[in-house]
């Protein structure tokens, strides 16, 4: 029996834009994933709880506010602390190249820089979740 892939598309923090996250969610659905969308303004704790309750394979975080260096590692830390270290976390949004190394050291498996095509993200998720 083949498992169906499940993913949480999450918006953390004060960033009030979710057009990109919704487009990503639909693209994942069209690629055959079951996608839980968190809605706006979630705390890292809320994202971690959702990821665990929904038993997802991956969490895709999108952030345009610039607070990624604080919020992304916090989500990773909480998910791990709650025992679900199998969940793969990746992120995107307005993240500058110079922050990528730090985020990857902080439990984020992949960062997609602005302008990355949806196909590349979905392909990566297909291979890594």
């Amino acid at each position: 029996m083949k498992r169906k892939k499940r993913i949480l598309v999450g918006k953390v923090g004060l960033d009030g834009h979710d057009r990109g996250a919704k487009i990503l969610a639909r693209a994942f659905r069209d690629a055959g994933f079951e996608v839980v969308y968190s809605g706006l303004h979630q705390t890292p704790e809320m994202i971690a709880n959702m990821a665990i309750q929904e038993a997802v394979d991956g969490v895709g975080l999108s952030l345009l506010s610039g607070a990624h260096n604080h919020l992304f590692p916090e989500v990773a830390r909480l998910i791990k602390e709650k025992g679900a270290d199998n969940i793969v976390i990746f992120g995107g949004g307005t993240i500058p190249d110079k922050d990528v190394a730090f985020l990857k050291e902080s439990g984020i498996s992949e960062i997609f820089l602005p302008g990355t095509s949806l196909d590349i993200i979905i392909n990566w998720a297909d291979n890594n979740l």
């Binding site: 029996m1 499940r6 069209d30 079951e34 809320m46 665990i52 309750q53």
Partner: protein, 311 residues
């Protein structure tokens, strides 16, 4: 600790992983479910159905708040449709339940139909069992809400709310067509919008025409400004109080377990027959005989019924 013991202690990670295994059809999961059975059957199970956009998820969130104020532990199963094109799904119900995301006594599970009809996924009955064993006092099931034949929830839940709202198009007609009979309580939501009074009176007329016996309560709510929710929860409480009567409780349990067993038997039979057509030479011969017009399909059905290997 065994998986079953962890579930009974309310361990969230174990619960969600077992639910995932069930949803994915992992055969080992059934062993744990067997152990959990004794610890299920006593929670209150509330079904919520109605057209998409009527406000089922928003109402669910308000009901969670009501039960949490009484310190009850709450489980939610929210079902959304699987896309027939991609097999994927967007599970968006819990966006309306955000305020409960940080509450460890609220467990929300989103599932996709994965090809099931009837408004639920195949896994819902087992998910409910796990939530019951984990000590959830109340379990709310939000159905898909796309069809008029969302009857599965009636058999699984103790009570069913049918939610409608003005502005959904031909809403009352749609309700008339099939789900009028399944309601224990009617909710006319979005009472802040014009047309709510009209929707309620049409519903009342339809219900009076349709139902023999007790007339079901019709409650008007506005989930944005939180109006009518006290009346709704009062109706729900009165409904669940009836289960203190052993006859009513037993009737419910018979209905629920019969649904579960029928569903599972049907599911296994469907799978067995599908496999037999692929692998069993007897089935292949029958098919060929029909193709060559040496046997008619009616005879074929009888022959197949005789040849199904019921294991």
């Amino acid at each position: 600790m065994s998986i079953a013991d962890k579930i009974k202690s309310g361990d969230i990670l174990t619960m969600s992983r077992l639910i995932r295994d069930i949803d994915d059809g992992m055969p080992e999961a059934e062993i744990t479910l067997q152990k959990l059975f004794k610890h299920s059957g006593d929670s209150k199970i509330l079904g919520i159905t109605g057209l998409p956009g009527a406000g089922k998820s928003t109402l669910t969130s308000l009901l969670i708040s009501y039960y949490r104020k009484q310190n009850k532990r709450v489980g939610v199963v929210a079902v959304d449709p699987t896309s027939p094109f991609s097999g994927g799904a967007i599970l968006g119900d819990r966006i309306r339940m955000q305020e409960h995301n940080a509450d460890s006594d609220v467990f929300i599970k989103s599932v996709a139909t994965r090809g099931s009809f009837g408004g639920l996924s195949k896994s819902v009955v087992d998910i409910v069992r796990i939530m019951e064993a984990a000590g959830k006092d109340i379990i709310i099931i939000e159905t898909v809400g796309v069809g008029q034949d969302e009857i599965d929830v009636v058999r699984l839940a103790g009570q069913v709310l049918v939610v409608t709202a003005p502005g959904l198009g031909d809403d009352i007609q749609a309700i008339k067509a099939g789900i009028l009979e399944i309601a224990d309580i009617f909710v006319v939501n979005k009472c802040d919008l014009v047309g709510a009074e009209k929707a309620a009176s049409e519903l009342k007329d339809a219900a009076e025409d349709n139902i023999t016996g007790d007339l079901k309560p019709i409650v008007m709510t506005d989930s944005i400004h939180i109006k009518g929710i006290d009346e709704l929860t009062e109706s729900i409480d009165i409904g669940f109080d009836k289960f203190n009567n052993d006859n009513i409780k037993n009737e419910y349990l018979d209905r629920r377990y019969r649904y579960e067993i029928e569903y599972k038997v049907r599911d296994k039979l469907t799978e067995t027959i599908r496999e037999s057509f692929e692998n069993d030479p007897v089935f292949k011969d029958i098919l060929k005989a029909v193709r060559d017009k040496k046997m008619d399909p009616y005879t074929a059905v009888t022959k197949i019924m005789k040849n199904v290997k019921l294991t």
